[in-house]
Symmetry: none
Subunit: 252 residues, 2 copies
DNA sequence: GATTTTGTTTGACATTATAAAACAACGTTC
DNA sequence: GAACGTTGTTTTATAATGTCAAACAAAATC
């Protein structure tokens, strides 16, 4: 498998541009690449033809082209969490029969952006677009727990602990201890804290920056799923969130 | 100026991927490009070496690589003063407790495009999107002073000096002397000229063309910040604007 | 206006990319 | 389970192509 020299060189030229180096003269490039001007010139012109390089009208200096932005955005779209996660939610539900959700953080609430309904159970509460509290749901907890301390602090500033069931966490102290437990475990659980008779588990999904991008959850009816089954579901859930995170470019 | 065939082909391969075509098999590429598999293979491997192409571990299919995202973001950053400046505003406010602003010129007024509020003071006037006069504010002055004489002349043509406080500059002569003072200093000050009890300092941010792209300011309450503290803030401000300008590609 | 420093073009040569064929690794089909 | 189509990858010879040097042109600097 031969490496194409000219292509290799062209891509190396693109790498000369960084945060601090916006523009380069052709001679600078040729000296830094240790190539002759004419060689660099040909490479640049070809790159320019495709919009990967642009030339400043007056100074004649070269800079990165808009095509890179275009392609980058294309990639970003593809990384769209929802479309990536969808097949994993579906596979999970297919395999377990349990309802799965995908939730992102918006303001101080979670928002359902996807849901795959299982046959066994009908979870009422959730619906795509609907909002869910951070303190009473597994997804909310997962979305909160795996952030930087200052971000968590910001979320909890003036946070109101609306009571959903008799088991809902209703104050900051209790929530903070719950969050640290979640951090240790790597996943969050909501045991009838949001909806009576319903128990959920949720785990974080990380993006390529290592930020929590979303949370995936599985919702079960207490009447249908016992403790051992539930912990098996958690194991499976953690597997899924890990692979999804990887697909988003997350490297631990 | 010869076009480099291999590079040209490689870039054409990248163009095969679009919104709908995320993954391609090597044979699909070779048929669509009308090239032999081995040729495509070499090109792909070289692209992959630089992260412009990735290969799916199990399916063996090829897709666009993260490097494109990285380069695209690089470009985006450069285009967006606000996102670049944001962390600097935040850092400044974090360090000093004072409110900072980012303002750009629009017509004959400034427009707040970002604001980071300090705990110590509550500056009423500013709000993102709100407009501010050139003659009565530090940011306005800074946006004006560091332009070419003919540009300044154009701005001041038919300019109306709206009175904001008893200290507001109200005529062209006074404004011009103020501007030349600012040019000498490298920064602008507004001492209760826009809002009673409030004193601000502002400095210009330059883009890669050497043009004034924005102004950054720090706003203080006279009751809270004395002269020595204020001049320290100015020093810090100038440091920040200098680094931001560099990030935008400015080379003096 | 002369001189240096740029970016661009030209053309000959040898390096390098290319294509064909052979190979290997899977899947599928009978 | 063997034979056949698919794949992706490697090898190798050939000639097409990228490369360099030198010449040219156009700015910029003195």
């Amino acid at each position: 498998m031969p490496i194409i020299q000219s292509l290799d060189r062209a891509l190396n030229i693109l790498d000369l541009f960084d945060e601090y180096t916006t523009e380069l003269k052709i001679t600078e490039i040729s000296t830094r690449m240790d190539l002759h001007k004419s060689t660099v010139h040909s490479l640049l012109k070809t790159l320019q033809l495709h919009g990967y390089i642009e030339q400043d009208a007056e100074s004649g200096k070269y800079r990165l082209g808009m095509r890179l932005l275009e392609k980058g955005q294309l990639l970003l779209q593809r990384l769209d969490i929802r479309s990536i996660a969808r097949k994993h939610l579906a596979a999970f539900t297919d395999q377990t029969g349990q309802t799965t959700h995908l939730v992102i953080l918006d303001g101080k609430e979670g928002v359902y952006i996807d849901k795959v309904e299982g046959q066994k159970a009908a979870i009422r509460y959730s619906r795509i677009g609907r909002r869910v509290p951070l303190h009473s749901s597994a997804v909310g907890k997962a979305l909160t727990a795996f952030r930087k301390p200052e971000e968590i602090e910001l979320l909890l500033k003036n946070y109101s602990y609306i009571v959903q069931t008799s088991l809902t966490i209703t104050n900051k102290e209790a929530f903070l201890t719950e969050l640290s437990k979640i951090q240790r475990q790597g996943y969050a659980v909501d045991d009838q804290e949001n909806e009576p008779g319903v128990r959920c588990a949720a785990a974080p999904i990380y993006d390529h920056n290592g930020q929590v991008a979303a949370a995936m959850s599985v919702s079960t009816l207490l009447s249908a799923v016992d403790d051992t089954q539930f912990s098996q579901l958690i194991d499976l859930l953690l597997q899924e969130t890990e692979t999804i995170s990887k697909l988003l470019g997350y490297r631990p």
